[in-house]
Symmetry: D2
Subunit: 363 residues, 4 copies
């Protein structure tokens, strides 16, 4: 049973009584699909908050788990509540939690880190050696409630639109990638125009890139890239990417590559376009090793390359917040679909179609 | 015919008269091998010097050209004088040359750069888009004389040993690689213990690395690595490299990788040993694309990787000189063989044996 | 007498014959003022170009020399032709000059560097130990012609407006200062809104600053700062700078300071506003030592501070060109006065009034 | 009364019973001096440890408080237990503390930070806006016991000598300063050879500095600097520092300045010796604003300067530990005096004499 904590701030006055069970999207056993079922409302520890979920969005990772591909089968241990892009309200707080109040509107950082390892203790929590991802390594937030360490609940202004608040986690990947290179007055190529790639285009423009070129293999996404600010967006299956971007850059190529596709073909093409001495940030994952022209793309080119993992904890959140609050970046065009949590199957199929931006579910 | 320049400083007083022809190691036509033949002494332009070669050393690149492998066949246009690791004395100087005098003892930078492209004009001559390598793209220095732009002739103290002066070009690769990462108090892995790898071990120790681990697949080179200062040197064909280096680093792996082998197996092993957030500098070339675990070795690891091309012009030369003059690095143990230029075939075969350090030829 | 060079490209066909003398603004002897007199047209060396001046602008340094203050008296050796912000056309070229053609429209870099010292040879020509400034250490360009090393003549598109081309040198100071710090999504304070400060505001906005605050002690310049893009511009003599900028930054202060005033009061105020861990670039010169709160402004604050000297040769020119060509920065509002070179006295008095942007003179 | 915590691990078996009161060096009221008196043993919170002090050392800050100078009068609120350089054993631990066990041998980080402000949350705890210094802002460790957050207790190997463990806090200042600049193969000037300056000399040598020059105004400390590894150590009151260091650097000056003195004269001299484009890290505090040649020392010189505050939390501790464990730095020669805590007056007078290294007190 749920009991008020010692400070008696279990509910705000007038809140309905806390129920005992909640609805959730559950990967119940190995194999494709998921169910919409009941789960007990989770208990919180002394440093945790219980968040009443107000919106959730779907990410490529969720799709892998939903479809149960090889990666998912190797990593995820059902039964588990899915979902890691979440916003909601603080419904309960542990006895040690001081930075948040009941009712605070928060976005969730999906990586639960240990605060104790060498990486956490030196400002590198994004590579914490004990990191656990909600919705992957433990219960996530495609549900009515989620319990999570208070430090993972990032407070938003109460009037931030749900559609923005729910995207902050995913936006953090874009922000982390774009800030990894010096983009000031640089010509930038973004490969891969899924939602994170699209956000990255917007960030690159907002933080001073001189021009942003984008590639994808879907016309829908190529068009979307233009809407998000790309100066030139090309379909790598139809356009002559190399010659068009060479032409747009006076034959020089690009200063910076932001790789969001994980496609070996796109990566090869992008490095051909990267100038000698250029810089690249890599977020896209390929799924397995692939053949890469190490000599020409890295060594002779004198390239500098940064692998990007998650978000800087918590630097990326400050940067992301700043870009949103100052209206330097507007994420609202990215949201193309809204469904209820119960209609999660429909949400996954929209996402899988390749013809969507972000799909938002509300409990 | 060779005429004195307008300042009359063609020869130093007492020098023997300049001959009309010289001996040289010439790749005369496509195919394996080379000949020892006659060539006219080259003419210099107004910004050039003519250098009387006093010593030359052999590099892996020379071996590729000698054997005439696919890379050589695609790049080199015979007939050409081979050789790019050269020291000697200034025998003539062009009318605009002020920084050097006849008789100055110089080591040669092998990359002739244009001074005019964007890279040259911004302190990045090492990625000059018009660079030409002596002994590869134009006549080199396995000969009695070589004409070269004066800026490529780096002055040494007159009493610097020939064995050191001749190695300065090659040493520059090691210095450039080691200085590309922050090594201060770091644990460093050097993969590949050919001559440049061996020099890199010595540089890493000299500039503050806490420990240097080295791998190769030749016992001869593994032993050599220990002589050059490696704290631990392993034979990747015999030793359990992963577990031994993990053990030596309290299970953490290394902070920095200096990749000098170009071997896909060594690269894979090295990235497995690189800590999350680690840094790598890559000088070794693989010869062709290979399968690489992009996701784990770069993206998830949040690694930062620097491709290394040639030497920083001329920052690396200042650094290299400083390390030698201050006796922080001693290159003399690296020289294992001396032969005359006429015996070049023997020099190449020593070098090809894998059981040599540097092989020095004197005209 | 002026003779065509060996390539016969002395004039373009149809050009009027080259005269023997030219008009120039000359500081003839120690003391205030200058004269407008005759000088022989300068001879060029083999690596030089002769530039027919098309426009010149006035800088604070020129004013010091005109008024003959203590700094000028200690540095300048009359007689000398004044002026270092110059654009014009190539009228002659030395025999070694290949990168420029007769008729090319060029802006001049004012620092003549040696290309031979340690700084020049390592991409740090801006701190060349043998640098000589035109119009200060040797004849400048307030004249009909100027001879200058070809590498100092930066080619512009033929249709670049004179008012922009003439400002490129001065603009370079602003670009160098702004690029010295990471401005991406940062809150930036610019102290001092003279012409270079004003340009710096525009650059900071163009390369991704989230907000730019500006201070000066002249209402004219404070208004000008708003026109150039400052989000907030304050008169330090009238406004409560500290409290207003604190308020604008949620009490946090600024991330970055770009110091263009050289005023000890402004500097003290600015460092009070700089956040802990903040970054500053310093271009303004104070004229003499002053009392500074070292402990609080640097040590306890953990500030990082960059002194800025001249322009990066030639990185700054590429950056400046990029900002202009892409229309990310528009310098045209800065030009407030045009006079003929003969009216130089009037130009200096406009500049001295403090109520001008840039004053352009045309021969 | 002291009660065991919920895990019952109040004492290790066989420990003597915990007393109720302890001895401490107490600044009881404003004014010079301190008393040796009784204090209750402090209670710990759920995230704290109680440390039984085994050794304490004296720092300049303690001397300011002891003498009660203007700074101390403005900052310290008596009564307070003095002391912030402390090592000891964990005697009790709060209920949430997992990383430490009773009996662990620890050195204390003296800055208690909030873990919640923007700086703490972005890996910049050294500039936490809510930092509180033990022995200055709250009770310190010149006493038999001290309660402190567990994260401030850095575990040492059980056999680390007391004389080393007690110096780790102070050593951290030296490590933070030395690592703030790139010292690899650089020529480094250390101004100020008090204990932190002396440690900095040792660190600079250990992490790859090519040469370390040191200055002080005490012969005792100049001699000590040589013992700690300085290649050249000069008395600024007697030697011609400028000319001797110029001579030692071939007229070029130093690449890096590590400023540990806070003396305006030393700072002026040091910046005269710093090369154009050089780098400086500033730890010394002057006590009040002073006249500084901003134009020549920062702007024209294109210097980069880093203010240094405390230690990087916790990066500096990892670096410091690494240097000690690997024997790259040996701190033992620094300890010149040992006294009991009761003899604190004698300890302060040794420290004040200027003819001491570190003075260690044991309870």
């Amino acid at each position: 049973m749920h009991l008020p904590n010692s400070e008696g701030d279990f509910y705000r006055k007038g809140d309905p009584p806390m129920p005992e069970v909640m609805k959730a999207v559950i990967k119940e056993k190995p194999g494709a699909g998921a169910i919409y079922g009941d789960k007990p409302i989770p208990q919180i520890g002394s440093d945790d908050v219980l968040v009443r979920v107000r919106a959730a969005s779907i990410c490529g990772t969720d799709l892998h788990i939903y479809k149960w591909d090889a990666w998912a089968a190797g990593r995820v241990k059902p039964p588990i509540i899915m979902g890691h892009e979440i916003c909601g309200e603080v419904a309960e707080r542990g006895i040690n939690v001081k930075a948040l109040k009941i009712g605070d509107f928060v976005s969730l950082e999906s990586h639960i880190v240990c605060n104790a390892c060498r990486y956490c203790r030196t400002g590198n929590g994004h590579i914490c050696e004990n990191t656990r991802l909600i919705g992957v390594d433990r219960d996530g937030g495609f549900s009515e409630y989620i319990a999570i360490p208070a430090q993972n609940a990032w407070p938003n202004p109460p009037d931030m639109p749900l559609d923005i608040a729910v995207l902050m986690e995913n936006f953090g990947n874009a922000v982390h990638t774009a800030f990894a290179c010096d983009l000031s007055a640089k010509k930038v190529l973004v490969t891969g125009c899924g939602p994170v790639g699209l956000m990255t285009i917007a960030v690159a423009k907002a933080i001073g890139a001189r021009a942003v070129y984008a590639t994808d293999i879907s016309d829908y996404r190529v068009d979307f890239a233009k809407k998000m600010g790309a100066d030139l967006a090309l379909n790598a299956n139809k356009d002559d990417v190399i010659s068009q971007i060479k032409e747009a850059t006076d034959g020089e190529g690009v200063d910076v590559l932001l790789e969001m596709s994980g496609s070996p073909q796109a990566i090869d093409q992008a490095f051909k376009l990267l100038k000698p001495g250029g810089e690249a940030a890599l977020l896209g994952v390929a799924g397995k090793p692939f053949e890469f022209d190490w000599d020409h793309h890295l060594v002779f080119k004198a390239a500098t390359v940064h692998g990007i993992s998650g978000r800087r904890l918590w630097q990326t959140w400050y940067q992301a917040r700043g870009l949103i609050f100052s209206r330097a970046v507007d994420l609202s065009p990215l949201v193309t679909h809204h469904v209820s949590l119960a209609e999660f199957d429909q949400a996954f199929s929209s996402m899988a179609s390749g013809e969507s931006g972000k799909v938002i579910m509300t409990p």
